[in-house]
Symmetry: none
Subunit: 289 residues, 2 copies
Amino acid sequence: MADTFSSLVDKIRSRYVDLSPQQRRAAAFVLKRPEEVAIVSMRTLAANAGVQPVTFVRLARTLGYTAWEDFKEPFIERMRSAPAFYSDRAKKLPATAPAELHLSHIKTLEATQALNDASTFSAAAEALESAQNVFVAGFRACFGPAHAFAYVYQLFRRDVVLLSGLGGGLEAELRAVDEGDVVCIIGFRPYSRESVTVAEHAARRGATLIAIADSPLAPFAREAKIVLTFSTEGPSLFPSLVSASAIAEHLLDTLAARGGDAALERLKSAEAQLQALGVFVPAYDPTDD
Amino acid sequence: MADTFSSLVDKIRSRYVDLSPQQRRAAAFVLKRPEEVAIVSMRTLAANAGVQPVTFVRLARTLGYTAWEDFKEPFIERMRSAPAFYSDRAKKLPATAPAELHLSHIKTLEATQALNDASTFSAAAEALESAQNVFVAGFRACFGPAHAFAYVYQLFRRDVVLLSGLGGGLEAELRAVDEGDVVCIIGFRPYSRESVTVAEHAARRGATLIAIADSPLAPFAREAKIVLTFSTEGPSLFPSLVSASAIAEHLLDTLAARGGDAALERLKSAEAQLQALGVFVPAYDPTDD
DNA sequence: CTGCCGATGAAACATCTGTTGCGAAAACTG
DNA sequence: CAGTTTTCGCAACAGATGTTTCATCGGCAG
């Protein structure tokens, strides 16, 4: 009984010619504005389509649904997991063990994608650009993503500092934070004490706080000017860091793109420098460029 | 009057602390499941959140909205523009949409998924289980994922060591590697010299090598017994770590699953210990379990 | 303890929901 | 053309919706 959106569309398309004029009107409208179906009531939908409310009930019936709600369901399901298209594709993968986790990673990414909009990313980038200095923090499980973010950011910006708390020196590191700086904290539940310490210190000093968290209600996000939210959900025992990494990378990309040629130049020279220092080893894959 | 979704989230976040317990519950739920707000009725929303229907009206009022509908609007607007299904989204977003990068992350994940099969993961898990000691390494951009992997693994296995090269002491750390041990290295192009150093040393000592690399031909994977491959491709300037994280997490999940109750027990006690040490700060989201 | 005040829950409210029944109109059939 | 069938619109229905009202609870100051 539970139809998918695309199969419903097919059904409409194939039986369209047999429909009565009014039902055609309704069906055509439904295809043109699928979001409306999920969101508004049948009556307003009818008003927008220039059709009587009953017509939608009749349309649903002629297509084999017992009630309008059954007809409506696929439209809702399509919206719930935002870009339904990719979800549908993922469901078609074989149901072996690794595929399941893989699928869940995709779902997590999609959930994360739905939680943030472009303007939040650009606001974060703007704040970082106008910062005197940038501090990055993440503790315990989140140290990894924080390090990755700071490492790449350092490639095209000089004054990026990773707050590590190495050797218990977190407080000493924090003394460098001042007004005009931006502090960027990554964390998720359970929230480590250090992240709150950093956040509070940053707020006290008047620095701008950017939080990358699993919830806008994360304790260290309380005083944040900008919050980027990610999901850690999944069938795994452990919370997933995949989405946090995705967000960090997206932010980096935004920063590099906005930085323009200057950022690119610095990036290149940084890489050349590393190369010259003999940090890297040549790959021996002949298909390389 | 017309609020955007992110500004609404900010409003909730900033005023969350002043809310009454019940309203917090409602607010937290709304943040955790934003799609629901757009789709279901207030009454069922209340049922799912474990709150009275009135509470949502009250919440909307406290946040400055005259009616529930005004509060609900941003949630609907957010969904309306979300689905990348028909042509209607092209006109809305600027060229550098977050959806594009999001899409590429999914593609990368799918590519990675295709590169490894379940048996490779179980082989890796098997090797790790029968190891005397486990060493984890990753340098430069890959230090993050390596740290994340080691951190979680340490939660249910005692003898996991992260090779950090801190203070230039990499060689000293390597002296601990011996026959019967497993060394797990994460890395991608350009390959850092340290990763090769570690790999060669491990091979010389007779330790088993597991490589997590962007190519089976990675220099540090030459002597590896098992290679897990991931993709770093994407439209971004920077290679993506998302898939590397996904692989690491999948491996951890496999390990925990195979470890059975014993692993679970250790995991629990590790978490309890951390809790007792006051490492974490309580979350103030009442909808948590 | 009393009196107060905000927070909370239960029930009643008007309104809007999807759906039905029925009559008028239109379209087809012989 | 009449007779039949289908389509359509209107008004009414039961149930669900968001909201209001009011009684109760629980903490706290005097």
